[in-house]
């Protein structure tokens, strides 16, 4: 869905090819193009194939798979497009490491949409994508990429250091996704309520506090306070349906190992106690085990 939003928009200002997993997806895109509806409305022509060798080498390869499919995506690019920079747009931390040896741009996105078909995506939340250099990647490349994304009609912002933003989003995501998946609640005002002792907001607050202690131990000064992000988002009244809640309702594997896992791995490395985040992790893993 995120990949389609980027491909559709960028196709208006650059040559865009789409590397698909399924042959019928590639065929449909080649025949019909990619339709964006919702906040924007247009159809872009794209070149699509299931084999990178059939596509021209791009300057930038944008990888926006779910973290659960990241390793497979990286394996498919192996040996192809050696000069292309890679932009990773994943939840959690460490997606960049899958593309060692290439120039990598780190990104996190807050936009969202709904995938209606292989050739149609609806653009819903028109919030920003944040980009930053990874390793030796020059900041100029990040700025150029952000400018291109903005030119295409999406919102983007370049950061010299993305980690403060990445960490804010990580703590927010780990907490809101897991709590939603366990309770069945969309991201609604219950997540911010702290009036009664039994209110869910107390737990959300404490989970965020644990995450902030990990960030502090990792030497990261957060870009935004994840608790404030939570309060603002629930106040906007979007009642956003977190992807992990969608996953457990469809009895699919979740991104827990990548999102919450990257927070817990960092906590272990830094010697920070995270009893509540750890409890959520175990409960979600057990929920996945209940599918079978």
């Amino acid at each position: 869905m995120i990949g389609s939003l980027f491909a559709g928009h960028l196709g208006r200002v650059a040559e865009v090819s789409v590397l698909c997993r399924r042959e019928e997806h590639a065929t449909a895109l080649n025949e019909e193009g990619l339709r964006v509806s919702g906040r924007h409305d247009f159809v872009t022509r794209v070149a699509a194939a299931t084999d990178p060798a059939e596509l021209p080498e791009p300057e930038l390869a944008l990888v926006a798979t779910k973290t659960t499919e990241l390793a497979a995506a990286a394996a498919r690019l192996d040996g192809h497009w050696p000069e292309a920079a890679v932009m990773t747009v994943q939840n959690g931390l460490g997606a960049e490491e899958a593309f060692d040896g290439r120039r990598v741009i780190s990104a996190v996105t807050f936009m969202s949409g709904t995938r209606h078909s292989d050739t149609h995506v609806e653009y819903i939340l028109d919030t920003e994508t944040w980009l930053g250099p990874y390793g030796e990647t020059p900041y100029e490349l990040v700025e150029e990429t952000a400018a291109l994304i903005v030119e295409s009609g999406l919102k983007a912002r370049a950061f010299e250091d993305l980690r403060p933003a990445q960490w804010s989003k990580l703590i927010f995501n780990a907490t809101v996704n897991a709590v939603a998946a366990l309770t069945g609640l969309p991201h609604d005002p219950h997540f911010a309520a702290r009036d009664e002792p039994a209110d869910l907001g107390h737990l959300v607050f404490e989970l965020v506090e644990e995450g902030k202690r990990v960030a502090a131990a990792a030497g990261v000064e957060l870009h935004e306070d994840p608790w404030e992000m939570n309060v603002l988002a629930t106040r906007r009244g979007s009642r956003h349906y977190p992807s992990m809640l969608e996953d457990v309702e469809a009895r699919r594997p979740t991104e827990i190992a990548h999102i919450n896992g990257s927070l817990l791995r960092e906590a272990r490395r830094r010697g920070v106690e995270t009893p509540l985040q750890t409890a959520l992790y175990r409960l979600i893993k057990a929920k996945e085990a209940s599918y079978s």
Copy 2:
């Protein structure tokens, strides 16, 4: 279901009347009697009515409602059967207080069954019911009652002090019920697994530890270690479906406020920290909020 198991069996060794909420339930019982199947198989004649005034005053009134219906049950007995002793069979602590001014026998039961209809209950787990005196109730009454239950074909045991057993069951129940309700898992070996760091057994163990600290602070020496109860039950392979899991799957209010609530109230009273049990409590309350 527990009430029907008692009524069916006790009807073979004593006069039993059933106080029903619904008129058609009373009519069906009067016409067909109460059938027990499963481990035992027989039909007992019982007298049933929806008004206590239509039933003879019993020596013992057995109250086995869910805790969520306890207050209503107590209100219906108000002003009736002043000489009858009351035996409470509820999860959690404090059910006895609803019958202040009467002789009360405290009980917890480990047996289980399935209610097939208004007049048919299946007896599944033939485990014990434990009884003890509450307040000034003479222990002899408890022993007589336990003996009568045993004579009826069920398993029962009298304790001079039931609190150690009640607390063991409370800690076990609070933990297993809430974890099952959140994960969707029946009480299966995941609850005892502690091989990998993400394994659920670690969380169950820590939840039980919190409960044990509360019991210790309340001056209760546990009858059985709830962690051992958990390990043994999962090893038996019964994959028991905890009632709180049934409740959330049917989107019904759960017994969280009574079971886990009595543990947390006691923790607050004794100044014991219970961060994980508190987290579970908030998650289950939020799950209930997601029904609407």
